[in-house]
Symmetry: C2
């Protein structure tokens, strides 16, 4: 046996918290369990409480074992084996010389395994195939986008029902509408459709100038509200991601012009998507549109102005995954990649505009999974 290199792959996490594990095992848990792959063998070791669900929902071809069954099969000698004892026995049983683990593999377990003489190698992309979605995954992502669109429709309804008071504030159901109330209505609608939305952005006015600001306080009329909704489907684990920017009332000219430029940048980026296109080139196209329209990005002094985030990111079982559409990514897009296209313009004087769709790359171009209309004003 000496000299034979056998590389296995190992995960230990809750699949709810670890997208690689949900992908490989096929079902969500909040409790940790073990997944391994050595050659054609793939299996999980999971506690008895989760056993029935694992057997019913796991990916085909997986061996589902309880700790007791695993201990018997792999010849564990310890009376009450811990997870590290099981892994050591599995290593011996399969002759594994190196275990590949993801970057976020828990250090405490890794340390025990290293101290017992195992070799662990962390790999940056543990499941490269996650970037290339199957037809089933694309349908799940479409459902994710539909969850987000349900949330957006609720926000549009609230804003349509609202009136503008004498002080220029947006009023709904007899009280001033706040960012928190609007977020609650969006997230409630997502929940009602079987998804979980958190950190939904409802950033009114100048708050929208900071792309990560979630938004708080009263919403003024005649100013942009950035609505960025990225729910996860409770059943499948796949995300949707959607941004629209709306104004209750009438937008100032500077906001209309920025909106038109972002809309054009987004359309041009979507139009150039196809297998073989370099990811970075999509980002550069967006930058070029903004430059043509006279929007210059300035990083300092003070808060950044203009366009200063990436154009998009892959989306799947993680909200941000490979491939990114940014200056660092020189790789070509491939059929089955699913990416967001979300250019934006941000100015502390009046706020932000961002428009975001999710599209799947095809041989011929791209299919936009988003159906929500793009417009600015709600009278």
């Amino acid at each position: 046996m000496s000299g034979v290199e056998v590389t296995g792959r190992l995960l230990y996490a809750s699949s709810e918290a670890c997208a690689d594990l949900w992908y490989e095992a096929g079902f969500p848990t909040t409790d940790e369990f073990l997944w391994y792959a050595v050659g054609e063998q793939r299996g999980i070791v999971i506690n008895v409480m989760e056993l029935a669900r694992a057997q019913a929902e796991c990916r085909s071809g997986l061996d589902v074992l309880t700790p007791r069954e695993a201990a018997a099969r792999w010849g564990v000698v310890e009376e009450r084996p811990g997870i590290s004892d099981l892994i050591v026995a599995l290593t011996r049983h399969c002759g594994v010389t190196t275990w590949q683990v993801p970057a976020n593999f828990p250090f405490a377990l890794a340390k025990i395994l290293l101290d017992k003489g195992l070799v662990l190698a962390s790999v940056p992309h543990f499941c490269p195939s996650r970037a290339v979605k199957t037809a089933q995954e694309i349908e799940w992502l479409r459902e994710g986008v539909q969850l987000a669109e349900a949330g957006l429709r609720r926000a549009e309804q609230v804003l349509r029902e609202s009136v503008i008071d004498a002080a220029g504030m947006v009023c709904w159901q007899g009280a001033v509408l706040t960012a928190e109330l609007l977020r609650g209505e969006i997230n409630a609608e997502v929940a009602r459709h079987g998804g979980t939305a958190s950190h939904t952005i409802t950033a009114p006015g100048t708050q929208g100038a900071s792309p990560h600001c979630e938004g708080s306080g009263p919403i003024a009329a005649n100013a942009p509200i950035v609505l960025d909704i990225f729910p996860r489907c409770d059943r499948t684990g796949y995300y949707g991601d959607l941004t629209r920017t709306l104004v209750k009332g009438r937008a100032p000219d500077c906001v209309r012009r920025a909106f038109a430029s972002v809309q054009r940048a987004q359309r041009e980026a979507l139009a150039m998507l196809a297998a073989g296109v370099i990811a970075k080139a999509v980002h550069e196209r967006v930058e070029a549109v903004f430059a043509e329209d006279g929007y210059v990005t300035v990083f300092e002094p003070g808060p950044a102005r203009g366009f200063f985030h990436s154009t998009g990111h892959g989306v799947g079982l993680d909200i941000h995954e490979y491939p990114g559409l940014n200056l660092r990514n020189d790789a070509p897009l491939v059929t089955g990649n699913v990416v967001t296209i979300e250019p934006g313009l941000y100015y502390p004087e009046w706020g932000g505009i961002r428009i975001e769709d999710v599209a799947v790359i095809t041989d011929a171009g791209a299919e936009n999974l988003t159906t929500a209309p793009v417009y600015l004003e709600i009278p």
Copy 2:
């Protein structure tokens, strides 16, 4: 300097995903950042996008640095330093000989640090003080429980509005009520109140016999529905946890008897809580009540029957944290512990009964943070 032992503490995570980091830094992020403590010095290194929020929301006494500022302060020589370069420079700057890290510290980063000669020691309870809640934390936990109670009230309303059809099914708004619909209504109400609920259990009939089963499909009348709601407050990060079991219509005698026993077990467990009481003793009291009432726990063959989970767990920035109320915990409860008390009985023939409150341990006894009434039937 040789021979001087300096132990520091180190976290690298997103505070959204790492309760220790939310606790130490005081604010949520979805992006990773660095937190360190050496002697009296405590600080974070966070990217520019999150800087303003970090400065506004972080715990007092924390140094908030950008990577560039940290590099200048600690004498980093690399042109574009990575996070490991910053940590190496910090180690040298503060003369740290050992870094304590939590069990879930990411292996890939740990490996780089170890290869650069740093010493890392993982500790099982990274923030022991998390188990002893401050007055502020207790208020945040009360708000968490109130979020769960809002969800429960919505479920009660739906069940009150429902009718029983000729086939014995629960009907709401003209259609058979399903576990998914009921869960959606609960989670929507939680969202509307500023919380996020996921994996809410709405387990009808025999599905409730499996404590982890989330529930699916049509809900029948005259059978128990286990409702377990554990939302997180979006603003504070603290959880609530609440379980009630309800029957639409009339419960069979076996269900009523089990309900009465679970209610008695829960009351007796709550009544004995106080600083100094051994955690295990609370669990044993629950077991004793069930034994007195003739409920015997059987683990095999087939699915477990009776009472086969722990009586409760600590709750805070994690839904399950120290201290557990189970046979393995010989430690005394202390003032400021916040724990769930959630006995249950489970029988595959008819389902499950569980009743759960959250209580804070005081010198004299305990304060129950839960106000939801305990009853079984909704006519």
